[in-house]
């Protein structure tokens, strides 16, 4: 088992192998993720029951929660990739960070925007300086810094290293930011879903929510693969294997 994983890890470092495999995986992931998002949206918007307190407004949860949760997961996965890049110098990790940063920033933005639209009718304001909102905003700023850093170095390898350093420093600092804004101010409701223990949301609402979360995660997987393939093809456009691949098609 360990050997298989190790082999997989080593193969993952190779651009041609990744390009070949991802090309095969992409159609399945695309169909699955988009159909899941469509199903969960229709289910959530039309068939799940109306909330007793918030009315129909709460239905934005099917966009808000997946976006915010995936935006954090993307950042943590990027920091793992950053460690991999700095320790083992695996060039694929650099491609991963570069491709996933814009997606993460986009989902953080969607999360902030949908939160603002949700907050307007329920809290009576578009924005509050609340702990969770602030730490999400800081996450967004980190994403922007990472994206901005990409263009400051001429050599690809230096840029990847610089970005990895920032990502790691950011991930060390994110819990500190989170805790310090927690003491500062909290208005946001606590998380409704928890993996261990009882979720504070009825199962009729929970199932479409979980489906939409799964759909968005798969969607990130799908777009991530697309972006990584695009990044690989720009980096490797003059390499022999890539030219061969193009001439074959």
């Amino acid at each position: 088992m360990f050997q298989i994983l190790k082999n997989f890890y080593h193969k993952l470092g190779s651009y041609p192998w990744f390009y070949k495999i991802s090309g095969k995986v992409i159609p399945f992931v695309a169909v699955l993720s988009i159909s899941l998002i469509v199903i969960s949206s229709i289910w959530g918007l039309f068939f799940s029951p109306t909330d007793a307190v918030q009315g129909d407004v709460y239905r934005i949860i099917y966009f808000h929660v997946p976006a915010v949760s995936v935006s954090q997961v993307i950042y943590y996965s990027m920091s793992v990739a950053a460690a991999v890049f700095l320790i083992w110098r695996m060039k694929m990790a650099g491609v991963y960070i570069k491709s996933l940063a814009p997606i993460g920033a986009a989902f953080t933005f969607i999360g902030l925007l949908s939160g603002a639209i949700w907050g307007q009718p329920t809290w009576g304001t578009w924005w509050v300086w609340d702990a969770r909102l602030t730490s999400t905003l800081v996450l967004f700023l980190f994403y922007l810094a990472i994206i901005g850093m990409q263009s400051t170095f001429a050599s690809r390898k230096s840029a990847d290293t610089a970005v990895s350093i920032i990502t790691l420093v950011g991930v060390v600092n994110l819990p500190i930011v989170k805790k310090s804004v927690d003491w500062w101010n909290t208005l946001h409701q606590p998380a409704s879903i928890s993996i261990s223990g009882e979720s504070s949301i009825s199962s009729e609402m929970l199932i479409p929510l979980l489906l939409s979360i799964l759909g968005v995660y798969l969607f990130v997987f799908f777009t991530g693969l697309l972006f990584m393939r695009a990044e690989i093809s720009t980096r490797e456009q003059n390499k022999e294997w890539f030219k061969k691949l193009l001439s074959n098609n």
Binding site: L86, L141, A145, S155, S158, A162, I166, N173, S180, W184
Partner: protein
Amino acid sequence: MIYFTKILKKEFLIYSRKSSSFISPVVFFLISISLYPIGISNDPDILKNLAPGLIWITVLLSTLISFQNIFSEDYEDGSIELLLASGQNLSLIVLIKIFVNWFFSCLPIIILSVFSVFLLYLPQEGLTPLIISLLIGTPTICLFGALAGALSLGKNSITGPALMLPLSLPVLILGTQAINYSLNDISFSSNILLLTAIFVFLLPIILFASVGALKLHFN
């Protein structure tokens, strides 16, 4: 050890000969502090409440003026390259540079912030936590400044500040909270301890990261 003392002396000499390195943050600080009453209100009651945050934000912004100084001149005249090639402990050299930068750009501001008692009507009991929190909080900000400066060497981009300010958020929150606590007769020692903890925790990480970032420029 003698090597590092020499570097320390050299850094002190460079900064003390170049007056703009410590005058420009001070001037910036004084200008902004005197603009707040004009721009917001001259009512002592309003300013009194805003003073802790205003002072901290101004200190944070004035470090933005000076953080480029930590490495940029050494980078331009090539001495960073020699330091990298010297085989000495780079983290220690970076630490010395950060300390001297803090000494010349942050310490004068901290001393000047005493004036905020008159200018922004900060109540006198807020003065002790202000000075203590600035003394402990600004080194952490200088650490972030060093990292941002090392990464954006030779480039005049927004990435330095864009990296530094979100990182400094916890320091800003804990620092202003310490002052507000003492104004409301709550013990502020926990905030000071947390600020110290953040500094001690981040010191090795940031030094390590800054050395890595410096090396990137010489491949």
